[in-house]
């Protein structure tokens, strides 16, 4: 009998759980690495499970969709742990990923938090790698967005779903995309007031491509639930509206909003101010967590929404040998798509090197993927980041939050020092050089540096912001402890 294929899965969200579960089902030995301390990712983030939870006593499902899918994936996951075929490494992050000469993959692991329970620094080698690292809210800078109380829409939701904590009592949500709706719904159910949802798009984009959303009725039903919540809680949903400035001395106190024309430019006279705001949740779509894939030099492309995503074949294989990708890293498209991609990736990853993948093994998932990708394209077309968002910037608006680099400094570097991509901006202004390594400002810095280009210059600039050989901050000692190079 041949030795089991060892599949490493990074991420325990919808894609990672599905990949792990299906790789197990196809006989692989699986290691699943996740930064959080319990499985679920962002989509199925839930309250802390009680240790020694009895079977049948289920994790808290408050505010969740597709919870049945989670429980079924989780059952397979837990069964793998019990059988010894799945090693689950929670609270662990990969800080470097490399391909060895024999095409196996080596991952350098570190503890996600030095406080509390601590995973030891270690090295893991696997035959196959499934990267299912997901995405986080994409941001464009707004004057005052660095005030405490201003956070990502995802943070507002994560606090509620993960901990039952409301980030404020009087919340304004702003950005673009359907994701603002469930966040508003979560806030309302938790007892907070959503004073407004400012959606920068005019939503006419949906009408241009009605076939795609109609092919995914579940999304329509979910959407209808959110609209019902908006009506029931009297939440104003303002289309073609942006926050032009966030006000406050030491924390957010008020916001100015305005209507915009088709280009995203503010319509004069439409400005109004919302007072007594204690929290703002921002999100203009999502940024993929792609750096572990770009470390392998895999082929990427710019998706319809301006996100850099990994190229994959129909079985989720990237251009890198033995490296697969599933979920948001191949294109922002939601949890149902991520589960289908993860399932396909898990199957493909578990195949021996001589075995050819069969479409019939994952026929249902391939159909789901095709329908949901079409839905995602329609969604991205309807919810583009407004072209002229930078028109609302003040000279002293912080763009890079870590290094406190302002819009004025970036524009000066562009115009006077010819820093026309994010990398040159980084070396001249330090934007993108701080703790987050450009995760938050990389998109905006690229927009500013390339003067709103939407093609090659922008794509190249964004791709450069993903070059993070050390993907998260680690103590120097862990780098010093590395062996020379990952050979056999």
């Amino acid at each position: 009998m041949s030795q089991k294929i060892h599949v490493a899965v990074i991420g325990a969200g919808p894609a990672g759980l599905a990949a792990a579960a299906n790789a197990l089902a196809h006989g692989a030995q699986v290691t699943c690495i996740d930064a959080n301390d319990q499985p679920g990712g962002q989509y199925w983030r839930h309250r802390l499970e009680q240790p020694g939870r009895q079977p049948g006593v289920q994790p808290d499902s408050t505010g969740h969709h597709d919870w049945k899918t989670y429980l079924s994936l989780r059952a397979a996951f837990d069964a793998g742990i019990a059988a010894g075929t799945l090693a689950y490494l929670p609270n662990t992050q990969v800080w470097m990923a490399q391909q060895r000469e024999d095409e196996r993959i080596t991952l350098q692991l570190t503890s996600a938090t030095a406080a509390g329970t601590q995973a030891p620094a270690s090295t893991l080698t696997a035959d196959r790698l499934v990267v299912a690292t997901g995405a986080y809210d994409r941001q464009i800078p707004i004057p005052g967005w660095d005030l405490p109380g201003v956070m990502t829409a995802g943070a507002v939701q994560a606090l509620i779903k993960g901990q039952g904590v409301l980030a404020g009592q009087r919340i304004v949500l702003a950005g673009t995309g359907p994701f603002l709706l469930p966040v508003a719904s979560n806030v309302a159910h938790a007892g907070g007031s959503v004073l407004a949802i400012c959606e920068s798009a005019d939503l006419s984009g949906w009408l241009k491509n009605l076939k795609a959303p109609l092919a995914v009725p579940a999304k329509g039903i979910e959407g209808a639930e959110y609209i019902w919540d908006l009506l029931r809680h009297r939440i104003p949903y303002k289309r073609s509206t942006v926050i032009t400035a966030i006000h406050g001395a030491e924390k957010v106190e008020a916001v100015s909003i305005a209507r915009t024309d088709k280009t995203g430019a503010v319509i004069a006279g439409s400005e109004e101010r919302i007072e007594n705001v204690d929290c703002v949740g921002l999100g203009f779509g999502f940024t993929t967590q792609l750096e572990l894939l770009t470390a392998f030099g895999v082929a990427t492309h710019m998706d319809v929404d301006g996100s850099l995503v990994a190229d994959v074949d129909e079985f989720q294989l990237t251009s890198g040998a033995n490296v697969l990708a599933a979920g948001e890293v191949t294109g922002i498209g939601g949890a149902a798509l991520a589960v289908a991609e993860g399932t396909v990736a898990g199957y493909r990853a578990a195949l021996g090197s001589g075995q050819a993948p069969q479409q019939s093994e994952v026929a249902k998932e391939l159909k789901t993927i095709s329908r949901h990708r079409a839905f995602a394209r329609a969604m991205h077309q309807a919810h583009q980041v407004p072209d002229y968002w930078s028109g609302n910037l003040e000279e002293d608006t912080v763009v890079c939050r870590c290094e406190e680099v302002t819009a004025g400094e970036i524009i000066q570097a562009r115009d006077e020092l010819k820093a026309v991509d994010a990398r040159s901006i980084k070396s001249t202004t330090r934007a993108g050089m701080g703790w987050c390594q450009g995760r938050v400002c990389g998109y905006a810095a690229s927009c500013l540096a390339t003067c709103g280009d939407k093609h090659e210059a922008f794509a190249q600039s964004v791709a450069n912001t993903y070059k993070r050989p050390v993907s998260i901050p680690v103590p120097l000692g862990e780098i010093a402890d590395l062996e020379d190079s990952p050979k056999e």
Partner: protein, 95 residues
């Protein structure tokens, strides 16, 4: 504005600088602070501006705080535990 504190079901005590806070077991340090109406626990290096939680999921590193003597921990990633010592950072104290 009044702090957003719901009744604490499973109380534990942590120290934040010199103060004792009763917080909900199972929350993160960031969640516990926000539940007490504390929105900032760090000031920036250059302009000494207050910062707290931003991405909430470990990507942005804006919520860094010292926890049990370990500096620069992401408050959104670390769960509270009984007797935990959280030290907020200010620019002046930083070496």
């Amino acid at each position: 504005m009044k702090p957003v504190v719901k009744s604490v079901e499973n109380p534990i005590t942590i120290s934040v600088d010199d103060a004792q806070l009763t917080v909900e077991a199972g929350t993160t340090v960031a969640g516990a602070l926000i539940a007490h109406g504390i929105t900032a626990w760090r000031s920036t290096r250059k302009n000494e501006r207050p910062r707290g939680l931003f991405c909430g999921i470990g990507a942005c590193f804006d919520c860094l705080v010292s926890i049990d003597g370990q500096p620069n921990q992401r408050a959104c990633m670390v769960r509270v535990c009984e007797g935990q010592q959280v030290d907020t950072e200010t620019a002046k104290e930083r070496p």
